[in-house]
């Protein structure tokens, strides 16, 4: 199992090349790719108005080669995904690699326990292949939370 943790910003004109470079290092035979991503719920389009209690929620998109059952509902029309998850999915679709993107629509800008809880079904499924450390060190968590605090000082 390979885990690729993307912490930096990738410009939109680099996404294609980034994806190609990463996948060049991988063997595509019997490869399954799972992408975890998130977006603001403001980008989610739906006919019925979404009250604030519905976020965060998960939606999935998968390539044609993905034969397993996604853990959540598929992304409805007319919603689309962009950025790195889309670039990865495009690569996998064209090269017939099984891939699934789990996209969390979130109403807060940083990570918190409620948002991460949304990914639980995905992690349970992945838990068959990955043994996670149930009590990660406080340093790891602190670094994780801090990086999202310095976003904006517009509102103190």
């Amino acid at each position: 199992v390979l885990i690729c943790h993307v912490t930096c910003y990738i410009a939109e004109d680099q996404l294609f090349q980034w994806t190609e470079k990463v996948f060049d290092c991988l063997q595509s035979r019997e490869l399954t790719v799972t992408v975890l991503s998130d977006r603001s719920v403001a980008d989610y389009k739906t006919a019925e108005y979404l009250s604030s209690s519905s976020a965060p929620f998960l939606r999935s998109l998968h390539s044609s080669a993905f034969s397993d059952q996604p853990v959540c509902q598929s992304l409805e029309q007319p919603n689309i995904i962009t950025g790195l998850p889309a670039a990865v999915l495009n690569h996998c679709q064209v090269n017939r690699i099984a891939a699934v993107v789990y996209h969390c629509y979130n109403d807060v800008s940083g990570p918190d326990s409620v948002t991460v809880e949304t990914y639980r079904p995905v992690l349970s499924k992945l838990g068959r292949s990955i043994q996670a450390d149930c009590s990660p060190s406080a340093d790891v968590l602190r670094r994780f939370v801090r990086s999202s605090e310095i976003q904006s000082n517009l509102y103190i």
């Binding site: 004109d13 006919a47 108005y49 390539s63 409805e76 029309q77 007319p78 995904i81 679709q93 064209v94």
Partner: protein, 263 residues
């Protein structure tokens, strides 16, 4: 470059290719959506390129639950073999610095595939029309010399208006400069047209003067205009717009449902 999604390689020899230019109002792209949706075209493959901004989504032409969860990419080719028609749909903006590269990729693919003719559906800013363009129909065409020889009679019969050349320096009478082609807001239209003239490709451009906004009526106008020439639909005695099938992806074009607490 083109990658087939079927088990056998795609055969486009002798087909007509219709493609949009990413231009003002996305009219060409909307018109192509109508074509794919109405003619029930099937996907032949992907135009996999680094020149477009990546995006992904489920099947925009889904008619039932079974085909709804099919992934679609920023540029795909659809075919209707019985009509000898192929359509390239482009769903994402072209990365600005790669515009020329994208045109080169398109031209070489068109040449290699052996399309008998290519039609580019495009649009141009209506606010940049000059005095003569303000009058009459907002639809224009352009045609390369190699397609003109084959289609001159059809165009004459249709009575279409060719895109005018604009003086390089409007209002300056002394300027001794040739009028030139100008398609503001047309994206790669002009570049693709001039490249096709240079490469001797049979290509036509159908464009519409429009503004950004609700461009659905513009899409219908453009696709009806195309149909007048290519006769893609059976011409029965019907309302011109009712014969085109609007795809499911056209819902919520102006945002989500309104919160009831607003009123």
């Amino acid at each position: 470059m083109f990658i087939s999604s079927q088990s056998s390689p795609a055969a486009f020899k002798g087909f007509t290719l219709v493609m949009p230019a990413v231009a003002v109002g996305n009219v060409g792209q909307l018109a192509v959506d109508l074509l794919v949706s109405t003619l029930n075209m099937s996907r032949a493959g992907y135009f996999h390129t680094d020149c477009l901004i990546p995006m992904a989504g489920n099947n925009p032409y889904a008619s039932c639950k079974e085909d709804a969860e099919e992934l679609h990419t920023p540029a795909e080719v659809y075919t209707a073999a019985e009509l000898k028609l192929a359509v390239l749909q482009i769903r994402a903006p072209i990365i600005q610095t790669r515009s020329k590269k994208f045109r080169q990729q398109l031209v070489s693919w068109i040449k290699a595939s052996g399309f008998s003719r290519t039609v580019v559906l495009s649009s141009s800013h209506s606010y940049q029309r000059d005095d003569q363009q303000l009058q009459g129909t907002p639809l224009r065409y352009l045609i390369t010399p190699s397609l003109l020889t084959a289609s001159a009679d059809a165009l004459k019969e249709l009575g279409w208006r060719e895109m005018e050349r604009i003086p390089a320096f409007p209002g300056v009478k002394d300027a001794d400069v040739e009028p030139r082609l100008c398609i503001p807001g047309g994206g790669i239209t002009k570049g693709l047209y001039t490249d096709s003239c240079d490469e001797d490709l049979p290509l036509a451009v159908l464009l519409l003067f429009c503004s950004e906004g609700d461009n659905i009526p513009d899409a219908f106008a453009l696709v009806n205009h195309l149909n007048d020439w290519l006769h893609l639909l059976d011409s029965q005695n019907q309302e011109p717009n009712s014969k085109w099938k609007v795809p499911t992806s056209w819902s919520l074009l102006f945002g989500s449902g309104i919160p009831p607490a607003l009123f």
